[in-house]
Each structure stands twice: as C-alpha cells, then as structure tokens.
C-alpha cells in the first residue's frame, strides 16, 4: 500500500518545529506503524536526510516507550493499543497520517516525536512504592489477599507509563497515572501503612511537575493502552480527603 506520513519535525527543544510530509510506496499492510517509520528512515538515510526520531523498544506494547499522536489521537485510532501494536491494515491505501509528539508542559520536547517523560519517575519517587527493605519480608501467604482484590489491584498496576493519558487531557493532567499507582498499592494490605502519605505526596508532586488538574472529559481512559478506568481518579480524590 501507499501512505503519506505528515510528521512533526523539530531538531531540538529550542528550535522551532514544522510538519514535513514523506511518501511511502509499497509498504506491507502487515507492518506496524513503527516498522513503516523504520522503512521511511532507511529511505531518509540513503538520501542523506536526518531520520525521524521516535521512542520505541519492546514493540510488543509493554515497555511504554513508544507513543505519539496519530491524526490527533494518542496511540492512534484503535482502543487498548499502544502505537507499536498499530498495524497498517488499520488504514486505507493512500491515506495521509499526521504524527505529532505528546504536547504537555511537564513533558518537554526532545526531538521530532520524542518528549521527556522523566516527570513520571519523579512521581513514583515521591511515594509510589511500599517502604520495605530487602530481606525483611514476611511469608507471602501470611497476609491473604482475596482473588478479586488482587485482580483489581493488578488491573491498576498494569499502567505502562506511556503518557497517553497526559497527552489526551486538555489540562495535560497526570491524574490517571497517579490514580492507577495509588489504587494499585492502596488496594493491597502491604500498601496500607503509607496510604495517606503516598496519596498526598504523589498529588503534590503532580502539581509541582506542572501537570494540570483533571479535566473530567475521560479522554485518558479512552486512550489508555491498558484500559485503566478513569473511575480510579474519583477514588484518588476520596483518598486525599480521607
């Protein structure tokens, strides 16, 4: 198939950016969009142009490295899919795809489709853990966790930290990311001792990093590749009040 990729090109944070269009002839519909970008980059290198920078690594939807907007949608049109798992068969022959980086104050641009998401690490460092030291653990069976409780905690623990929730929120809020971590640990007995402190510290850090407040338009839930429910955001707000 044929595709036109209209890509945001910006050589560094202090340089202005603009769109550049590139045509791809003869791409297989069985390729992922990232593999199409690989193919484009080989063309650009051969013709002496700078290849497109984009983040990627595992290419199986789990590392959370990749992510950009495809026609304005974080990770593209398919629900529950990170962009590395988006295959060209989702698009029609001759289509024009516009690719933009995540745009948020807390995610400074690096180059082209790459942004700096280290704010997420600082959010975790602020309290997204259980303060336990190595070698001090009691028997894992000593504290029973019901199956439903464990499953619910797991469903929030699966957040891959891609940043799509931030990119799709009109306030660039990290509420879904923070709520997911608070709900993961807050639903387990191990997470109880620090529960209130954690909720407070992570939300304070979220503000300090320049993330906005929740815009309540549920776009975060719609684009989350792990389908984490936005209901956890209301849960988080109750956590801080309690």
């Amino acid at each position: 198939m044929k595709l036109t990729l209209r890509i945001w090109r910006q050589s560094s944070a202090d340089q202005p950016g603009d769109y550049q269009s590139h045509r791809l002839e003869n791409v297989s519909p069985d390729l992922s969009l990232l593999e199409a970008l690989d193919q484009l980059n080989e063309q650009l290198i051969s013709s002496g142009e700078r290849p497109v920078s984009f983040e990627h690594d595992c290419r199986e939807g789990i590392c959370g490295s990749c992510g950009f907007l495809v026609n304005g949608q974080a990770h593209g049109p398919r629900a529950a899919t990170s962009v590395c798992q988006l295959y060209l068969r989702e698009f029609s022959d001759g289509e024009v795809l516009t690719l933009d980086p995540w745009r948020a104050k807390a995610f400074p641009p690096i180059q082209d489709l790459m942004v700096d998401r280290s704010a997420f690490d600082r959010l975790i460092a602020a309290g997204g853990y259980c303060s336990t030291g190595t070698g001090q653990a009691p028997d894992g069976n000593a504290m029973p966790v019901g199956r439903e409780q464990a499953t619910s905690a797991f469903s929030t623990a699966t957040c891959i930290g891609c940043g799509a929730c931030v990119a799709s929120c009109r306030n660039a809020s990290a509420s879904l990311f923070v709520a997911a971590k608070l709900a993961h640990l807050g639903q387990l007995p191990q997470g109880q001792p620090e529960r209130a402190r954690r909720a407070d510290a992570m939300q304070r850090q979220m503000e300090a990093e320049g993330f906005g407040s929740c815009s309540s338009n549920l776009e975060c839930e719609a684009v989350c590749p792990q389908e984490i429910s936005a209901d956890w955001i209301s849960w988080m707000h109750r956590e801080r009040r309690s």
Binding site: V27, C58, S65, Y87, I124, Y129, T132, P138, Q149, F154
Partner: protein, 639 residues
C-alpha cells in the same frame, strides 16, 4: 589461575547448605564505611534495579546507569509467564531439591550444581520479597498465592501475575529503586549507553558512558562495577528481545579481559508469532504458559490447504503429545522448537512459507469457556490479535520458534564475579545456573536472586577484602578508555558508505539463524564464520551513519551495537563449532541418536567453555570442569 581460569570459588562440602555456609563466612563492612564507597550498577532491569536498591539500602553510594529514559522500560518488563519458586505448600510435592533437580536437568547438566541449588534455596524468599513490595501476584479465592505449571516440570511452582509477571516484578524493583533515588542514596543516570569498561591495575574501576541526548562521553569511577545489562539475542536481528537490547557492556568487558562463557547457548523459544515482511523488526513471544491449555498440532498431510477448523481430528498430528506422552505439550523449549522446525522443513508447516505450527486453545475454551481462558491469558490473546489480525478465540494461533534468551554470557565465579576482579555480572548478562537450556520461568528468578540476595553479600565481601583508593576521572586508564571510545565513534561516523546499519544487522541475523540457530552443523558453522567476517568488512566500508557525535543519534547507537554484535557472532560460531556434542539449546546435527534426540558427550564436554579475548589472533578456549555430586547426569528424556 588454574587451567587458564580464575578459581570459581565453589564451596567445599555438601551442596545443600553451601550458600548458607558461604554467606556466614563472608566478611562484613560497617555501615559507616559503606557510605564512603561508590558502586556502579550498569542496567536497571530486574537484576540491576534490585541490586542497586539493595546496595543503596545497605548504605553504599550507588550510581545506576540505564540506557532507557526510565528504569521501568527495561526489557524484563516483557517477561510474561511467571517466576518459579519451590514452596512445598501444594500437595504435588514440590521441594527445593526438586527445583534444583529440574534446573540442573533442564540445563542438560551444563551448569554448576552448587549454583542451581542456591537458586532453588533462595527462590521462596524472592516471592516473599516481591509480595512485600506490593507485587499483585495471582491469588486463590482464599487469598493464598496461586501457581501454575510450566515446561520441563511436573509440579505447579510458577507464581504469576496474569501474563505480565515480568512487568509486575520489574515495577516492584523499579519502585524500590526510585525510593532510594528519593532518599538520595542512588544517583540514577538515564539515557546512558555504556561503551567501555575501565580497569586500573587489572581491577574494574569504572565505565565510559555516552549520554544519548547530548552525545557527551562521561567517565564514571567506583570501587566496584556490576554489569546487569541483559542478553544478546538481538545478534539474530529478529528475536523476542526489545530492539535496544545489546551486548556492548559485556562485550567491551570481554575485550578488557573478562572471559565469555558458552556464547553459543541461545534459547530458541517455541511459541512466537512468526515472521512475514522483510521490514518486520521483531518476533513477539507468546508465553509458554499457553501450552498448559494449548495443544500443538499440524495437519498430517503435507501441502494441506484447508482452514484449521475444517481439518478433522483424524487428520491432525498432535506431534508433541505423540512423541512425548509424559510431558506432551509441556516438553522443554529446545525439544519443542526442534520438532516444529523439522516438521516445517519437511513441508508440513502452515501459514506463509510453511513456517508455523498451530497452537490450539479450542479444547480448553470448550471445556472451561472463553471467560476462563481470557482471565488466564487475556493480554496474550489481545496481543496475538493485534499483530496477526486473527482472533485466537476463533482460530488456532500460528506459532514458530524464535531466538529468545541467551544462557551464555560473561563467566562468573560462585560470587558472581567475572575474571576481572571487582567486575560483577548479574542476571542474563552472566553465564550461570541455566546451563545449556533455561527452564521456563527461571529467568526472573535468577535476575532477582542475583540482585536482591547474592550480589549484595558477595560485593560486600569483595569490598571488605580489597583496600582501594578512589580513582580520579582523569586517571590515565580513564583517559585511555575515553579516547578509544571516541575513536570508535569517529570511525563509524567517518565511514564513506551509503547503506543503513539495519541492512547489515538484518544480513547478520540471517546468517546467524541459518548457521547457528535451532540446529547446527560443523560445515555450516565454518561457512557462517567466513560470512560474518566478510560482512563485518563490508559494514566497515559501506555503512552510512548520518549525523554527528553530539545530540541524539539513534543510528550511531545502532552502529555501535551492531559493530559489537559482529565480534560476538564470531565467538558464538566458534563456540558452537568447538562443542562437539548436542546439549540443551545447542543441537549439533552430527551428534544425535538414531531417534533424532540430542546426544550429549559427558566424557569430553561436561564443562563450561570460557573464551579469552586476544588482541592479535584467535580467542583461546578454556574449560571449567563440572562436578556432579548430588545428581548424576542422566539422559534427558521427556517421553
């Protein structure tokens, strides 16, 4: 050194208690002194993050380097199926000695028994540690930890978090690490590619790293260096590894004097989504745990064109169940991979090019319902559907073997120290415990055992017994390492060619999978060696690396990696050629029984091969003999 090898420091006496005895005999350091000692940890996956967090908690000043933007991206995140632990809680009679025996036997008796024993002993504590961190393992309704079974074992000892066990364990270790970062005990440096190891008077004292955004080369020095940089199956180009997984840190250490052990042992995973287009960049693993419920089959008739649901039972060949009645679909990875390849080579395969076999969950879905299967493997089913475009609930999945996990790596002694004093190697980066073939669900166990429990004791022992001055970053050894790294970079940037790096990497991968993949033959290996040498020369003359040394340059990153893969590939081929036997993942066609099973040679090859790099000339193969006292080598049979 004896026999060209440093002392492997195998503890004397019975193996059952060897780790406790060793640990109790190791010297300690006062917390105050630890605060004056720097330790460098390279890589922040399961092994690196757990080691860095634990060493920091003990009081060391830790600097951790990751080439990712966040430790949460490390490839450990992708491990799916689970983590083994011997906890004799179920009625199926599991025990430490059984996990030990399965590990040693699974590795086809090419690992040290004392290491396998230690891993089995530590395993249970790992689960407790992870639970305390909040890892949401699957639970029974009553609240106790759930388990499932895995290939190569007849007991249910694999703890799991749906199909995302690696992710959850990594997040546990990452969160523990970030806590230490916040406490100021770990200095975390992200987006750093470690390109050289610095030795002073033969002792590892630092690394040269390239900042992936600025391109700046940095020198970091410390009392001790831990390499936790993962495996190297990306030498095959198409593999289940993440695209940035590389060999650079351990390969540079090898060139600085660290012995490389059993480089040819690469596990080929039987259950991957097969390849299609030339631009396909990776092979995606479908957890082996699917084989608990999935039946592997092929049509009996070669050239079958009907859809799978139109093929009646009588015309299907459930070949693993037929050939291995005891283990059936749960036969170990190497055996399952080889049988699939043979049948595909014989024209019985399905899908494009006849390069796949069916993995069929129809019976399990009928028996238990779609909901039960979705609860167990939901994310895997979705992943398959995304990539292949087929619905695995309606149509059997198509799978084919793919390079997955490298059992080879830097040689380490019982203390996880390489042949360079002060250089420790953890997790997949080292050679240890998995022998010639890793048991499923053992990689996570080894990474965490090394990081949380073993290295913190043995690194302390090394530091206690080794008085050392701090090395200034302008020490002549640092300047020299910096200069040689700079030279390598400018050579690549100044190459006059026009061919992108990936093109060479693809060709290298194709040689390696053909010559040194699921099965090997001396003639192919010799030919492969010549092809890789020729390809490397072409790479140097014809590659084009655009851009500058400064600023982000993904092509330069790739070129540095691929250059190292060329050296490693040659060592893998040499190692495969020298090992004149079939064992584990290494199947030499010349060494098989009349029934086509692997024929091991315990008289001549019951050893670890450890290769020494020579600046001018062929590398030297040393061997460390393996002793078996607790379990005598037997023929591996899964019939």
């Amino acid at each position: 050194m004896t026999n060209g090898l440093p002392d492997p420091r195998i503890p004397a006496g019975p193996i059952a208690d060897a780790w406790r005895r060793t640990r109790e005999g190791l010297p300690l350091i006062s917390p105050l002194r630890k605060g004056q000692m720097d330790v460098l940890v390279v890589g922040t996956g399961l092994a690196g993050a757990s080691a860095a967090a634990t060493l920091a908690q003990q009081g060391y000043r830790v600097t951790a380097l990751s080439f990712h933007d966040s430790p949460r991206r490390a490839h450990s995140v992708a491990a799916q199926g689970g983590i083994n632990a011997a906890r004799s809680v179920a009625v199926d009679g599991d025990s430490v000695s059984r996990l030990f025996a399965d590990t040693l036997k699974g590795g086809d008796f090419r690992a040290r028994e004392v290491g396998c024993q230690r891993l089995a002993e530590i395993s249970s504590g790992i689960i407790d540690q992870c639970v305390a961190q909040g890892v949401p393992f699957a639970r029974e309704y009553g609240g106790s930890l759930a388990t499932r079974s895995f290939g190569g074992a007849l007991v249910s000892r694999t703890f799991y978090a749906r199909g995302q066990t690696g992710q959850q364990l990594l997040y546990g270790a990452y969160q523990a690490l970030m806590r230490q970062v916040e406490l100021g005990r770990v200095h975390l440096l992200t987006r750093r590619d470690v390109l050289e190891v610095i030795t002073v008077d033969g002792v590892a004292r630092g690394v040269v790293a390239r900042h992936l955004l600025s391109g700046e080369l940095e020198v970091h020095t410390a009392r001790s260096v831990l390499l936790c940089s993962g495996g190297y199956s990306n030498v095959y180009f198409l593999s289940t590894n993440a695209l940035k997984s590389n060999t650079s840190a351990i390969w540079r250490a090898h060139r600085k004097g660290a012995l490389f052990a059993n480089p040819c042992f690469t596990q080929i995973h039987p259950t991957c989504i097969p390849s299609g287009d030339v631009f396909q960049s990776k092979l995606t693993l479908m957890s082996e745990s699917l084989r608990n419920d999935g039946r592997v089959w092929l049509p009996k008739n070669p050239g079958e064109t009907r859809q799978p649901d139109a093929i009646p039972e009588a015309e299907r060949d459930y070949f693993l169940e037929r050939l291995y009645p005891t283990y059936g679909n749960m036969t170990p990875r190497d055996v399952a991979s080889r049988r699939a390849r043979e049948l595909c080579n014989a024209g019985r395969g399905v899908g494009p090019g006849g390069r796949s076999v069916y993995l069929d969950l129809t019976d399990a879905i009928k028996a238990e319902g779609k909901g039960a299967i979705a609860a167990r493997y939901g994310n895997l089913m979705t992943m398959y559907e995304r990539i292949s475009g087929d619905d695995p609930y309606k149509k059997p999945m198509r799978i084919y073997p793919a390079p997955h996990y490298t059992m080879g790596g830097l040689w380490v002694d019982y203390h996880l120290m390489s042949s360079i004093p002060g250089l420790f190697v953890l997790g997949e980066a080292n050679y240890s415990e998995h022998g010639a073939n890793r048991l499923g669900a053992s990689a996570l166990m080894q990474g965490l055992a090394d990081g949380y429990f073993i290295a913190p004791s043995t690194v302390t022992a090394w530091l206690a017994g080794t008085p050392a001055q701090d090395v200034p970053t302008d020490h002549p050894a640092c300047r020299e390492a910096l200069e040689s790294t700079r030279r390598r970079i400018s050579q690549l940037l100044n190459s006059d060619g026009s061919t992108p790096v990936d093109s060479f990497h693809r060709q290298l991968g194709s040689v390696m999978i053909d010559r040194c993949g699921i099965s090997r033959h001396a003639d192919d290996l010799r030919e492969g060696l010549e092809q890789v040498k020729a390809l490397e020369q072409r790479f140097e003359a014809e590659v084009r690396v655009p851009g500058e040394a400064s600023g982000p340059n993904a092509e330069l990153e790739k070129a540095l990696r691929v250059k190292d893969f060329f050296g490693l590939a040659q060592l893998m081929l040499r190692d495969a050629l020298a090992r004149e036997e079939s064992c584990g993942a290494h199947f030499r066609e010349e060494h098989q029984s009349d029934e086509g099973e692997a024929r091991r040679d315990d008289v001549n090859f019951a050893h670890i091969a450890a290769w020494e790099h020579r600046a001018d000339g062929e590398p030297i193969r040393h061997s460390e003999p393996l002793q078996f006292t607790a379990l005598q080598p037997s023929t591996r049979s899964y019939k």
